[in-house]
């Protein structure tokens, strides 16, 4: 009976989209570093911890108002308790475990036993309960029972909770964790030395009335202070035998310290690349809008450089590490990831829909570019793709791979050669406009409703007339270009005006069209 009820509830929860949605939300908030709102949650928790510790310190010598104590003991503790329970909840999926067990039993024609599944759930959840982080969480809730004076110290566990919310602290722990074996060896070595020396010094000194070391605890305390090269000097051996032990320990102490230092340093050096890369990935996910360049070479360098001049962000993906280093030296944001692998985009957490303006494929072979294009198309159907074409017989294949714009340099050069031999001056003029080095620019101005309304009126102002060349208007309806338009042309929002002029004049023109009319 209870079994059927439990299975019924499990099926209901498993099928409920709302339940899954809520659980997913809390999972993201607590555990998913890529979730944008997680940081707000983390900051809130950090703030609570700081408040809590401040109250603890203040309370040592001064009075703290009852409201604050209440806040500290109950409100914060309850928030932490709630967090603990939610973490426990999202750690694993009980309904799925129950259903799996139920279906398993059904298949094997065995009766469904509640105890089995409860045991299974407890085993799974204890994975969370027994994890160091969860233990700290639990201890941090303890000050709730503040009536027990000793438990006040547990507030300090709240400080340890910081590890959960501050990424750099987590990183530090994970770096040290990579040297588990070395740290363990060092620990065993130090413990053995401390144990042996404590016993020795106790045996040598404890019975000597002139010696301050009287108990075994004194002996251990002296050993620890000496071996870690602190040497307060509050306890000193007075017998010759005791001092001999001291000399040996001091030498051993230097070994322990240098060993410890070298472990930490080598752990960091080994992980340095990883940390740097993590930082780069973080940087990429923070960029709002960027161009993604796949493949780095001389052309990619030029393209990235052009975008940089125009204040556009560029991210370069290149599988060859040496080329990546080269790109980074040039000051570009380059990552050693294969642009043709789906894994790269998942690892980098690139969101094509919202972040990538366009992907530019500049690998040095058509084959690679097509492969990369298909990879990107698999994740992002809409993102504009531009590729260079190296052999014209592959043009159709590139188009089939979903590439929107294909640049075939050879053909372009052919066309330009014709231009340059026929109309050299005209060619120079257009080339100067395009290269944007001459101070005069050709720009497209996308018109909104207000700008469209005031377009001709503004263009006729003495400031612009005859100085700002209004080459024409590209009308979105009909997709046609109207050269040198007269004011009889109906300009609408969304149309694009093409103007030639100096940067300041174009900016002024845009600003003036947008400015509200003075009344």
């Amino acid at each position: 009976m209870i079994g059927r009820l439990i299975v019924g509830i499990a099926f209901y929860l498993h099928a409920s989209a709302r339940y899954r949605h809520i659980k997913k939300f809390f999972y993201n908030l607590l555990e998913n570093p890529a979730y944008p709102y997680k940081k707000f949650f983390d900051y809130t928790m950090i703030m609570l911890i700081v408040i809590s510790v401040y109250i603890l310190i203040r309370h040592v010598k001064y009075d703290v108002s009852q409201e604050w104590l209440f806040f500290n003991n109950y409100v914060i503790s309850l928030i932490f308790l709630a967090e603990y329970l939610v973490r426990l909840w999202v750690y694993s999926d009980n309904s799925k475990a129950i259903i799996d067990q139920y279906e398993h039993d059904l298949f094997l024609q065995r009766p469904f036993k509640v105890t089995t599944v409860v045991r299974h759930i407890i085993v799974t959840k204890s994975g969370f309960i027994l994890s160091p982080a969860a233990i700290i969480d639990l201890l941090a809730i303890m000050p709730f029972f503040h009536e027990m004076r000793l438990l006040r110290v547990f507030i300090l566990f709240r400080v340890f909770k910081l590890f959960r919310y501050a990424k750099s602290l987590t990183q530090f722990v994970s770096i040290l964790a990579s040297k588990k074996f070395e740290i363990l060896t060092l620990g065993v070595f130090a413990s053995v030395i401390i144990a042996v020396s404590s016993v020795l010094i106790y045996v040598m000194e404890a019975n000597n009335p002139a010696s301050p070391i009287n108990t075994l605890f004194d002996a251990v305390y002296w050993s620890v202070v000496t071996i870690f090269t602190v040497g307060y000097g509050d306890f000193v051996p007075v017998t010759t035998e005791g001092r001999t032990v001291a000399m040996v320990i001091i030498v051993a102490g230097i070994a322990v310290i240098s060993f410890a230092t070298s472990i930490v340093v080598s752990a960091f050096t080994e992980k340095l690349d990883e940390i740097k890369e993590d930082k780069l990935i973080d940087d990429v996910s923070k960029i709002d809008q960027f161009y993604l360049i796949c493949g780095y070479g001389p052309l990619a360098h030029q393209v990235a450089h052009r975008f940089q001049i125009n204040d556009k962000k560029v991210v370069i993906l290149e599988s060859n590490k040496e080329k990546v280093i080269e790109a980074q030296k040039e000051g570009f944001l380059a990552l050693a990831y294969d642009p043709a692998s789906l894994h790269s985009y998942h690892a980098l957490r690139i969101d094509f829909e919202s972040q990538v303006i366009a992907a530019i494929l500049l690998e040095e072979s058509d084959v690679l570019n097509i492969y990369t294009a298909l990879t990107i198309r698999e994740i992002a159907k809409q993102v504009p793709l531009l590729s260079i074409l190296l052999h014209h017989e592959n043009r159709r294949k590139l188009a089939l791979a979903g590439i929107n714009e294909i640049v075939y340099t050879q053909e372009l050069i052919g066309l330009m050669s014709k231009e340059v031999s026929g109309r050299p001056v005209a060619f120079e003029v257009i080339h100067a406009l395009r290269s944007e080095n001459s101070g005069v620019f050709i720009e497209e101005v996308v018109l909104d409703a207000l700008m469209a309304e005031r377009f001709f009126e503004s263009a006729k102002l003495p400031l612009f007339h005859k100085r700002l060349i209004l080459l024409g208007v590209y009308k979105q309806t009909g997709k046609s270009f109207f050269f040198n338009p007269s004011n009889t042309l109906a300009v609408e929002a969304g149309d694009v005006a093409i103007v030639v002029g100096t940067r300041s004049l174009i900016d002024e023109f845009k600003a003036l069209m947008r400015k509200k009319r003075k009344r």
Partner: protein, 233 residues
């Protein structure tokens, strides 16, 4: 400005495209290549192809062409060879218009000092086009139509004749768009030889004979303007 014959050096992908584009424009057109394989390929594509090597003294050009109306395109694969070719041509033909391809800015500068009249740095041009397509798609489309397509909108350069009514006027005295239906992008001042200035820079340029106007407009309007300016057809 009108040349009767043209030579393209090399027959790689770039040279091939250049050949396809310009061959119809010239009375005589020859491809000069370094290897027999290239010669074969060029002939197969329907071009007259001759072999040459870099130590040539270029008698063959002097014999076959009127160097006064000849234009050459140096499009060898290797930048170093291309520079060498340019410099050896320049050493013999002082006034020959040479247009050279260069891999990047660095070779472009060398090409210039070797005596090429116009250098096309391939990398920069490609990079410019890529960024322009993405940043200014409409500009790209419109310019492409004006420059390369068979639309009636054209860009043209018109030299101002000696006795034209324009001589003595200032460029901003005339409302070009209203009166002639064309836009003047730039003017080449004959006195300041071969440098052009954009009209939108705002200098009110004094028009002299032999200045060149770079105009954009419909074919008919450009023709009408040329006629009004007194350019002989």
């Amino acid at each position: 400005m009108s040349y009767k014959s043209a030579i393209v050096f090399g027959f790689n992908e770039y040279a091939k495209q250049i050949a396809f584009q310009i061959a119809p424009e010239y009375g005589s057109f020859v491809v000069f290549v370094l290897s027999e394989a290239e010669q074969h390929a060029a002939q197969e594509a329907g071009f007259e192809a001759e072999l040459f090597d870099l130590s040539e003294d270029w008698n063959v050009i002097q014999e076959r062409f009127d160097t006064e109306s000849l234009i050459v395109f140096c499009a060898l694969e290797n930048d170093a060879e291309n520079v060498f070719l340019t410099i050896s041509l320049r050493s013999i033909f002082e006034d020959l218009p040479i247009i050279a391809l260069a891999g990047d800015h660095e070779s472009a500068a060398k090409m210039k000092s070797a005596g090429a009249n116009k250098v096309m740095p391939i990398l920069q041009i490609t990079a410019n086009v890529i960024t322009e397509i993405l940043e200014k798609p409409t500009v790209t489309e419109v310019l492409h139509d004006i420059l390369y397509e068979q639309s009636s909108l054209k860009i043209a350069q018109i030299a101002v004749p000696e006795d034209s009514f324009l001589v003595g006027k200032h460029i901003q005295d005339i409302d070009w768009g209203e009166e002639y239906g064309v836009l003047v992008l730039a003017i080449v001042d004959h006195q300041l030889a071969a440098t052009f200035s954009f009209t939108s820079r705002g200098h009110n340029h004094h028009i002299d004979p032999e200045d060149i106007l770079v105009v954009v407009g419909y074919e008919d309007n450009i023709a009408a303007l040329s006629e009004a300016m007194g350019v002989n057809k």
